[in-house]
């Protein structure tokens, strides 16, 4: 790759990295300037959680978008998006425990165990942890085939995250519906692709048999 291409790629990396950090930066700015209203704690927790899910959905969208539009450069950013999702989710829990519960362990345990949506959210974050830890290239090499098996955990994590939203609905279900439809599409695409793949491999093997009979 020439020097110019390398520079372009590097600036694109920094751009995406910076833009992804904007939500949390804006949140810190608004909190410092007291623009978060009567309940800044909840505002922060909600915003961080929303972005954790946004980045998870973006991570899942990378492959379909890359294939549909032929934007192969996107593949490089799947790890970054996944890690951002983990960071926002971790900050989300940290903000909840700090700003809403004040690290009162008794209340924290009640809050997490008595709110079913909190339980599934907590499990989703726990499952994200091994994915974040094994996200490096070195780990990818070390785990070989097991790496992609392990990272299939992203699907149950996404479903748990959706459940986390659904179980919080009081009346308005527009947000849950939007995330749900998007996830249907993202998972549906994969299902469709794998069907295509297995169909074509069946065809190939069927063709093979045919060929065999012919030679006989």
């Amino acid at each position: 790759m020439d020097l110019k291409g390398k520079w372009l790629q590097r600036s694109r990396w920094w751009l995406i990295f910076t833009v992804s950090a904007l939500p949390v930066s804006l949140l810190v700015y608004s909190a410092v300037n007291q623009q978060l209203g009567a309940d800044p704690a909840k505002e922060i927790v909600l915003e961080l959680g929303t972005w954790a899910i946004n980045f998870l959905w973006i991570t899942l969208a990378i492959t379909p978008v890359r294939k549909m539009f032929g934007w192969n450069w996107l593949a490089k950013y799947r790890r970054m998006m996944g890690l951002y999702s983990f960071v926002y989710a971790a900050l989300h829990l940290l903000a909840f425990a700090t700003f809403m519960v004040g690290w009162n362990w008794k209340i924290l345990i009640i809050e997490i165990t008595e709110r079913p949506y909190a339980i599934v959210g907590f499990i989703a974050l726990l499952l994200l942890l091994p994915l974040a830890v094994t996200s490096t290239k070195a780990m990818q090499r070390r785990l070989k085939k097991r790496w992609s098996t392990l990272h299939k955990l992203v699907y149950p994590i996404a479903l748990l995250s959706l459940l986390h939203i659904i179980w919080q609905i009081r009346s308005d279900f527009s947000e849950a519906l939007t995330y749900g439809l998007l996830l249907c599409f993202l998972l549906g695409y994969r299902f469709y692709q794998s069907r295509l793949k297995s169909a074509s491999s069946v065809k190939r093997s069927a063709g093979g048999i045919k060929l065999k009979t012919q030679t006989n």
Partner: protein, 335 residues
């Protein structure tokens, strides 16, 4: 020689004794000297500092006039620290104007609350449609500082201005068949955009209800204002219910109908999710919402340095006044 005579003081210029005495009383009460009104247990409406540049809601003229002679009865003032005015008027659950708590303050500003009519119907001697002014006029406005606990787990302390519900209801002479009172919010999708929403599970208009003895309890209150002024639209202008021993959603806003009934009304949240919200909705730390604990609450405004989390009291600390209403009832069943 002309001797200039000292000008005579006209008798009309002399302050009469009665006026002089009135003035003394006025000054004493203005200074808050208890002795001046020792025989009475009422005081003038609290003056609130103009703390910020938040919008003000003086209310219609007749209300402004009435506010001048409002009183603050003793015994209805929570000792808790007041939630600042700006938070009370900017953090609201008023789904007709949006699901987000900041939306009502943004989207309800053009809501027309004057003129306003209230329809009285059902098991009652004097049914009819009344102008709000006539509805309120016979009563003295009172100020009451009540705590308010939302079923979602946050709470505020608000100085309401309004009239005791019992006094109002009695005026319309409920019959012996009137066992419950049903309240209905305005249904006007043109003004209340969320009543058109495709993504909500609530049926409009919003309906709430009280058992007759609950409605007649001295704590039950109809607010026409807060913080010494009119009621902001986002807080349920021009008329809203305040029943502080119950979860906030019982405090129905922008009331247009009051109906006396023999049978228990079906309140909106109970209709939407009967497993989660009952008819009574008394604040009860022992009975959790199916999806979260009700043992504690966060008193707003919350600060990032302290979550302001406090333990929730049964009947929200008003057990002395209302617990007897539910004697013999299983309150784990009658949520």
């Amino acid at each position: 020689m002309l001797i200039k005579q000292r000008q005579q003081i006209l008798s009309s210029e002399i302050t009469s004794e009665s006026v002089y005495k009135q003035r003394r009383v006025f000054m004493k009460s203005a200074l808050g000297l208890a002795g001046a009104i020792a025989s009475s247990n009422v005081a003038a409406l609290t003056n609130y500092p103009q703390e910020d540049d938040s919008p003000k809601y003086p209310g219609p003229n007749w209300l402004q006039d009435k506010l001048q002679s409002s009183i603050t009865p003793s015994g209805f003032q929570a000792k808790d620290k007041l939630t600042p005015y700006k938070d009370v008027i900017s953090y609201n659950n008023f789904y007709e104007f949006g699901f987000d708590k900041s939306e009502p303050a943004k989207r309800a500003q053009k809501f027309i609350t004057d003129p306003w009519k209230v329809e009285i119907s059902g098991e009652v001697g004097k049914p009819g449609v009344y102008n709000l002014e006539d509805f309120v006029q016979p009563h003295t406005l009172e100020e009451r500082i009540y705590r308010m606990r939302c079923v979602e787990g946050w709470s505020m302390v608000i100085p309401w201005v309004g009239i005791p519900l019992a006094d109002v209801l009695k005026r319309f002479e409920p019959t012996s068949k009137a066992k419950y009172v049903e309240f209905t919010t305005l249904h006007d999708p043109k003004q209340m955009p969320q009543q058109n929403s495709l993504f909500g599970t609530l049926d409009w208009p919003y309906v709430e209800g009280l058992r007759m003895d609950e409605a007649m309890n001295p704590l039950a209150f109809l607010a026409t204002g807060l913080y010494g002024q009119g009621l902001p639209p986002q807080n349920g202008a021009p008329l809203r219910l305040v029943v502080p021993w119950k979860y906030g959603f019982k405090n129905i806003k922008s009331i247009v109908k009051i109906r006396f009934t023999e049978h228990m009304p079906v309140n909106t949240w109970n209709k939407t999710a009967p497993r989660e919200y009952g008819f009574y909705a008394n604040v009860n730390p022992e009975v959790d919402h199916p999806r979260w604990s009700q043992a504690t609450e966060r008193r707003l405004p919350s600060s990032l340095f302290s979550p302001n989390r406090i333990e929730t009291l049964p009947f929200y600390g008003y057990a002395e006044q209302v617990a007897h209403l539910y004697k013999g009832m299983d309150l784990t069943k009658w949520i």
